[in-house]
């Protein structure tokens, strides 16, 4: 498809509603360099998958079913008290994953 030479796509998956902003942001520049795909297995809810994007690169993405309910999908890893480090963020070697909440 289109040629790709430089910086890749920063994808925001999730939503904003009356209660706030709930997004997982994936800097797919990091995905291009990644070999382990640690995020896929690290997440206990299966939020991540590897897809071929519009520019024919294999990058991480949030699974379709989770995008509209990401606040609920991530809730088990985000208890109010004693919140541990998020497994997906820890597993991502290139540091491509951030959460907006």
């Amino acid at each position: 498809m289109a040629l790709r030479e430089e910086a890749e796509v920063k994808a925001h998956y999730g939503y904003k509603d009356g209660a706030g902003d709930f997004f997982i942001i994936i800097d797919t520049d990091g995905c291009i360099r990644c070999e382990d795909r640690g995020c896929v297995t690290a997440c206990p809810e299966g939020v991540f998958e590897i897809i071929t994007d519009d520019y024919d690169d294999m990058v991480a993405a949030v699974v379709e079913e989770h995008r509209q309910r990401i606040k609920y999908s991530c809730a088990p890893c985000k208890p109010d008290r004693e919140r541990p480090d998020l497994p997906c963020v820890t597993a991502c070697a290139p540091g491509a994953i951030t959460h907006s909440w």
Binding site: Y13, G14, D21, Y55, R67, Q68
Partner: protein, 289 residues
């Protein structure tokens, strides 16, 4: 019974052009949750398009969209070298050769409609709201898509048009007929905003003021989405709500960015991008053969 939410469906084709003189004829079909568009591009130029409400069946909606765009042109599906399907129903365009996400298609379409200087595209669609950052070739560098919540979408606006019994095409203009800008409705949620609006009407607020309050809240909501990926000029708006001057003017005011004007209908951006991608792919296919 009047249906205030029902916007006009339409089609167009270039009567000064004969597609038979063209070399590369491609199509883009965008099947959204609310509306479906089909666009035909001949040698890099817009030749025909249609826009109508999506029915209950996606493949049928895709078919109808294309048939209507082709109506009166003499062009048939067999004459089209490559079709790209996009939008929520892109996997259900049975006659498409490839499906491409609406993110990539909107960026590409906006690049064509607004020129290579566009860097931030806001698409306010029927059931989603997205912001796309792109480069001078229309290639995506960042995106955020919100399709979980009706606030900031066409459906949200339809609910209000219905509530106030104002045809949706008049909503924007009416919202500007206020002497003083009222505070925005406090609820982001369309369902709760509707209750709030009902209470305001009871208090004696004229419809124009209620619409102003709602368009203001919608604009603000969209601005926070824009800020998530950042706005870089030039800024352009696609999708149905781009035609709502009440939301657009408030958006421009709040962001400090003017939206580029477009001579081409803003609702066809996705399908247009698809047809342009189709052209590249057709070229590759032909040169490989």
């Amino acid at each position: 019974m009047a249906e205030y939410w029902r916007w006009k469906e339409y089609r167009w084709h270039d009567e000064d052009k004969d597609w038979r003189d063209g070399e590369l004829i491609t199509g883009g079909v965008d099947v959204g949750s609310v509306s479906s568009q089909a666009v035909i591009v001949v040698d890099g130029e817009l030749y025909a398009f249609s826009s109508q409400r999506t029915g209950s069946d996606s493949p049928e909606s895709a078919r109808k969209a294309l048939d209507w765009a082709l109506e009166g042109t003499g062009l048939t599906l067999d004459d089209i070298g490559f079709v790209v399907g996009t939008g929520y129903g892109r996997v259900n365009v049975p006659f498409s050769n490839k499906a491409i996400t609406e993110i990539a298609c909107h960026a590409r379409g906006a690049n064509f409609m607004y020129g290579p200087s566009v860097r931030t595209v806001l698409d306010m669609g029927g059931q989603d709201c997205k912001v796309i950052r792109c480069d001078e070739r229309g290639k995506v560098s960042a995106f955020v898509m919100n399709d979980k919540c009706a606030a900031g979408t066409g459906r949200g606006m339809e609910v209000f048009a219905d509530l106030l019994a104002i045809p949706i095409e008049e909503v924007g203009e009416l919202s500007l007929q206020v002497e003083e800008e009222p505070p925005p409705v406090s609820c982001t949620c369309v369902v709760f905003a509707k209750s709030e609006a009902t209470a305001l009407l009871r208090e004696g607020w004229p419809k124009s003021k209620v619409l102003a309050a709602y368009c203001s809240a919608m604009a603000h909501r969209v601005v926070t989405l824009l800020e998530q990926v950042g706005i870089e000029k030039e800024f352009a708006i696609t999708g149905g709500i781009a035609k709502n001057v009440g939301v657009v003017s408030r958006l421009e005011h709040e962001t400090g960015f003017k939206a580029l004007p477009s001579k081409i209908d803003t609702q066809i951006a996705g399908a247009l991008g698809g047809a342009l991608f189709a052209q590249n792919l057709l070229k590759k296919k032909l040169s490989a053969a």
